[in-house]
C-alpha cells in the first residue's frame, strides 16, 4: 500500500484538518472539548497522511485498563490522537480529541475514593506480596 | 397573363370520400425510399419554419413547411409505412378527412414556392420542397389543385401542350412575327439542328423579346439551331399543379422534338421549374439517359463566353441579380449568370443571401398563378423588396420570367423606380458585331 503514487482520499484528510481546526477554535473560544472519530472513516491508506500532518507532540499517556490505549498529543497542542486497543492489541477505537486534557485521563471520583480507602493498607499489602515471592 | 384567365378563384370545396381516396392514392403512388425516409425523419424541431418566407412574414405556424405535407405523411404511415398495419389498427395516423384535405389546399399550393430554403435548413436532410411537389400529386389526383389560374392553365396544358391552348401553327406564326419585329432570323421546325431552344409561356404572353433574344444569341454563335413547334413551350404548369401525366406529356414532347432533329443540346428558357424538370426529370420520364445536354440559357451563354463563341460589349452600370430558386439553389446554375454579368462589365451588388440561401420572389411553385394567394405573396415579396433596396441599385436582372413578372408586379404595386430586366435580353442587346 505504500507504493501508492496518488492517495485517493487526500481530500478527506483536508476535510478532517478543517474540522480539527474548527474544534480547536471552539475549545479556545468556549472551552468546549470535542472529538472526531477516525475508525469508521474510509481512510485506509492515508491515515498515515493525517498522522504525518499532525505530527508528534510533547506528551503521551498510556492507559492500561480493559485494554491498552495511547493518548498522544500531536504537534498541535490540544489536539490528541487517541487509540483504544483491546487486550490483544487490536484497535477498537481511534479518534482525534480536542481538549486541554482528554476526558479519560482525568481520574474518576469514585475510583479516587476507592483508592483512598485502599491506600493506608498499601505498605502491608506490599510486604505481603514480597513475603509470598520470598 | 393574368388578364387572360377568366375563372375567379373558387374557395376550396370540401371534397367527397372518393376524392379523398384518390388523394391518398396520389400520395402513395410513386413512393420510394427517399420520400419514405423523408416522411419518417422529421423530429419536429421547427427550424424549417424559420427558413420559410411565409412563416417569417406572417408568424402563422400553419406555414411551417413540414406541416404542409402532414396529410402526405399520414397517408404514408397509414398505407405504405413499415408499421402501416399498426397505424391502421391502432388509429395512430387517423384517416385524412375531407375537411382536412380542403384546409390543406392552401398550405400545399398557396403558401409554398417550392423554393427549397427549408430543405437547406433541415437538420434531418429532408427535402421538404420535393415532398410538397409530391404532395401536390395527391391533391391534383383528388381534383384539389388550386383551382384558379394554376388549375385552369394546367388543365389546358395537359389537353393541348400549351397552358394557353396555342397550337403549332400559332407558335410558328408568332415566332416569325417576333423575328420580323426584332429583325432577327428565326429558325423554325428545321429537320436537323444541334441546338433546340424552348420558351416559357410567360415569354410567349409577356416577353416576346426574349424569344428574339434567344435567336439573336444562337445566330451570333453561328450555331445550327431551330425552334421546334412540336416541343416548344417548356413552362410545365402541370408540374406545379401536381398533374403527373400532364407534366410527363410536356417533358416527353420536348424530348421527342429534340430527338427528331438530332439535337445535342436543349436550351431551357429563362424559367425556373421548367429547367429542373427538364434537366433532372426528363431522363427519368424518358427512361434512360438523354442523348443531348440540357442547359439553361445562362449556362449556354456562360459556356459560349468562355470558349469565345459569344463576345459581348461592356456596358458598365450597377445592378443586382435575383437568383431564381430553381436555377441557383435547386439547379446548380448559380455561377453562370455572374460570369455573364462580369463579362458585360456590370458592377454587381449582390443582395444579402444571394445564391444558395436567396429568398424566393414569392411567385415560385405556381403561387403566382393563384389569385387568392396574392396577399400572401405580397407579404413574402417584402423581404425581396427590402433586400433590393439595401443594395441601392436601380436595375435588377434575373434569368427567370416568372421571377421577372413577380418582381415587376410587386414593384408596380409599390411605385418602384427599379427596372426589372432579363439577363438574356441584356446579352442579346450587347453582342459584339
Amino acid at each position: 500500500m505504500t507504493d501508492f503514487t496518488y492517495l485517493p482520499d487526500e481530500g478527506l484528510v483536508d476535510a478532517l484538518i478543517m474540522e480539527i481546526a474548527d474544534l480547536l477554535r471552539r475549545l479556545i473560544e468556549h472551552g468546549e472539548a470535542g472529538s472526531t472519530v477516525l475508525l469508521r472513516l474510509p481512510l485506509s491508506p492515508s491515515r498515515l497522511t493525517l498522522d504525518h500532518c499532525l505530527g508528534q507532540g510533547e506528551i503521551a499517556v498510556l492507559l492500561d485498563a480493559a485494554g491498552r490505549s495511547t493518548i498522544r498529543e500531536t504537534s498541535f497542542p490540544g489536539v490528541w490522537w487517541t487509540t483504544h486497543a483491546d487486550d490483544t492489541g487490536r484497535v477498537i477505537a481511534m479518534l482525534i480529541e480536542v481538549a486541554f486534557v482528554p476526558h479519560i485521563v482525568r481520574a474518576d471520583i469514585d475510583d479516587v475514593a476507592r483508592g483512598c480507602q485502599r491506600l493506608p493498607g498499601a505498605t502491608n499489602a506490599a510486604r505481603r506480596a514480597r513475603r509470598t515471592v520470598a | 397573363m393574368s388578364s387572360d384567365a377568366k375563372a375567379a378563384a373558387p374557395p376550396a370545396e370540401v371534397p367527397n370520400a372518393g376524392q379523398v381516396a384518390a388523394a391518398v392514392r396520389g400520395f402513395i403512388a410513386d413512393i420510394g425510399p427517399t420520400v419514405a425516409l423523408a416522411l419518417s425523419s422529421c423530429v419536429h424541431c421547427g427550424r424549417c419554419a424559420e427558413a420559410c418566407q411565409f412563416y417569417v412574414q406572417t408568424g402563422d405556424p400553419r406555414y411551417t413547411p413540414i406541416h404542409k405535407v402532414e396529410p402526405f405523411r399520414r397517408a404514408y404511415e397509414r398505407e405504405v409505412g413499415p408499421f402501416a398495419f399498426a397505424y391502421r389498427l391502432l388509429g395512430l395516423a387517423p384517416k385524412i378527412t375531407p375537411d382536412e384535405l380542403a384546409r390543406w389546399q392552401e398550405l400545399i399550393y398557396d403558401s409554398c414556392n417550392m423554393c427549397g430554403r427549408c430543405s437547406l435548413i433541415c437538420p434531418m436532410g429532408i427535402d421538404i420542397a420535393e415532398l410538397v411537389e409530391r404532395a401536390r400529386h395527391g391533391m391534383f389526383a383528388a381534383g384539389l389543385a388550386a383551382a384558379d389560374f394554376l388549375g385552369v392553365l394546367a388543365e389546358k396544358e395537359h389537353a393541348t401542350g400549351s397552358p394557353f391552348g396555342l397550337v403549332r401553327s400559332q407558335f410558328e406564326d408568332m415566332l416569325h412575327a417576333v423575328g420580323r419585329d426584332h429583325g432577327v432570323v428565326m429558325n423554325v421546325d428545321k429537320g436537323t439542328a444541334d441546338i433546340v431552344p424552348t420558351v416559357s409561356s410567360i415569354d410567349v404572353k409577356m416577353y416576346p423579346a426574349s424569344m428574339a433574344a434567344i435567336a439573336k444569341v444562337l445566330n451570333h454563335m453561328g450555331a445550327s439551331w431551330t425552334f421546334r413547334t412540336d416541343g416548344f413551350d417548356a413552362d410545365n404548369v402541370s408540374l406545379t399543379a401536381g398533374d403527373r401525366a400532364g407534366q410527363r406529356k410536356i417533358t416527353l414532347g420536348i424530348v421527342k422534338a429534340a430527338l427528331a432533329c438530332d439535337a445535342n443540346t436543349v436550351v431551357m428558357p429563362e424559367c425556373g421549374h421548367s429547367f429542373t424538370e427538364m434537366r433532372w426529370e426528363a431522363a427519368n420520364a424518358f427512361g434512360e439517359a438523354l442523348p443531348f445536354r440540357v442547359l439553361q440559357i445562362t449556362e449556354l451563354i456562360a459556356e459560349g463566353l468562355s470558349v469565345g463563341r459569344i463576345r459581348v460589349n461592356k456596358v458598365p452600370h450597377s445592378a443586382t441579380y435575383h437568383d431564381a430558386c430553381q436555377l441557383s439553389r435547386r439547379g446548380g446554375a448559380t455561377a453562370a449568370p455572374r460570369v455573364i454579368l462580369e463579362a458585360l462589365g456590370v458592377e454587381l451588388h449582390e443582395m444579402e443571401d444571394a445564391g444558395a440561401t436567396n429568398w424566393c420572389c414569392g411567385g415560385g411553385g405556381g403561387v403566382a398563378l393563384i389569385k387568392r394567394a396574392q396577399p400572401l405573396m405580397d407579404k413574402a415579396f417584402e423581404i425581396k423588396q427590402r433586400q433590393i433596396e439595401v443594395t441601392g441599385v436601380a436595375t435588377i436582372y434575373t434569368s427567370c420570367s416568372g421571377c421577372r413578372q413577380t418582381l415587376e408586379h410587386g414593384g408596380k404595386a409599390r411605385n418602384w423606380n427599379k427596372t426589372v430586366a432579363s439577363l438574356l435580353e441584356l446579352v442579346a442587346d450587347n453582342l459584339k458585331d
Binding site: - | 425523419s41 423530429v43 419536429h44 405556424p61 405504405v80 427535402d127 431522363a283 440561401t357
Partner: protein
C-alpha cells in the same frame, strides 16, 4: 428475482431484441421500397457525389450563416442536449462497460465529475427544450404524443442517471434498476417513434448530400 436482476437480465434482453428487430424492420420497410433510378447526367462524378453525401452529414450540424439569428436558440439547445448525451453515453465508465459487454469494444472513460456536469447540462437543456415545445407556436402545433413520449423516455434515463451518479435519493441498487429499466423503455420505443432519427439522420443527410451534389444544388 430482484428488480435489478430483472432489469439486467430478461428486461435487457427483451429490450435489445425488440430494438434491433424494430430498427431493422423500419429500415427495411423504408429502403426496400422501389428505388427511383436517376437517368439525368449528373453534374458531379460518383466520387463527388459520395463526397457531397459525407459532407452533408457533417455540415448539417451547423446551419447556414443567414439562418442563425432565427434558429440560434434551437441549435444551441439541441446541440447542448445531444452533445451532453453523447458525452454521458460514450464517456461514462458504466456505459462503456455495458457497451464492452455487449459488443466487445472498449475505450477509456471520462471522470465522473465531467459526466455529472454533462448530465446537468443535458437535463437543463431538455427542460428548456420541453418548455419551448409547449410554448412556441410552431413547435406546439407540430408536436405529437411521439414528441412528448420520446422526450420523457430520454429524460428519465438522464434523470435517474444523474441521481445514480449523485447517489442522493434512494439506494444505488434501486436507482440502478430504475435507470436500466428507463433506458430499456427508451430502447423499446426507439424504432417506432422519432427517436429513430438517431439512425435516420445519417441516411437522410447522406441521401440529400448525394442528391444535391448530383444536381450541383446548394447544400
Amino acid at each position: 428475482m430482484t428488480l435489478l436482476a430483472f432489469a439486467r437480465g430478461p428486461a435487457l434482453q427483451a429490450a435489445l431484441l425488440i430494438m434491433i428487430a424494430g430498427i431493422f424492420w423500419r429500415l427495411a420497410g423504408i429502403f426496400l421500397l422501389p428505388p427511383r433510378a436517376q437517368h439525368a447526367a449528373p453534374r458531379h462524378s460518383l466520387a463527388g457525389r459520395i463526397g457531397g453525401g459525407a459532407l452533408m452529414i457533417v455540415s448539417r450540424f451547423i446551419p447556414h450563416h443567414t439562418f442563425w439569428p432565427r434558429v440560434a436558440m434551437s441549435v444551441v439547445l439541441s446541440t447542448t442536449f445531444h452533445l451532453g448525451l453523447a458525452i454521458i453515453l460514450l464517456g461514462g465508465a458504466p456505459h462503456i462497460l455495458l457497451i464492452h459487454q455487449v459488443t466487445g469494444l472498449t475505450w477509456p472513460g471520462l471522470p465522473k465529475g465531467l459526466i455529472v456536469i454533462s448530465s446537468g447540462l443535458t437535463l437543463a437543456s431538455m427542460i428548456v427544450l420541453l418548455i419551448r415545445r409547449i410554448t412556441h407556436p410552431v413547435l406546439r402545433m407540430l408536436s405529437t404524443v411521439d414528441d412528448y413520449l420520446s422526450w420523457l423516455l430520454v429524460f428519465l434515463p438522464v434523470l435517474t442517471g444523474i441521481l445514480l451518479a449523485g447517489e442522493t435519493i434512494g439506494g444505488y441498487g434501486t436507482l440502478l434498476a430504475l435507470h436500466i429499466l428507463s433506458v430499456e423503455l427508451m430502447m423499446v420505443w426507439l424504432p417506432f417513434g422519432k427517436l429513430m432519427h438517431g439512425a435516420l439522420v445519417f441516411a437522410g443527410r447522406w441521401g440529400m448530400g448525394m442528391n444535391f451534389a448530383r444536381k450541383g444544388a446548394a447544400t
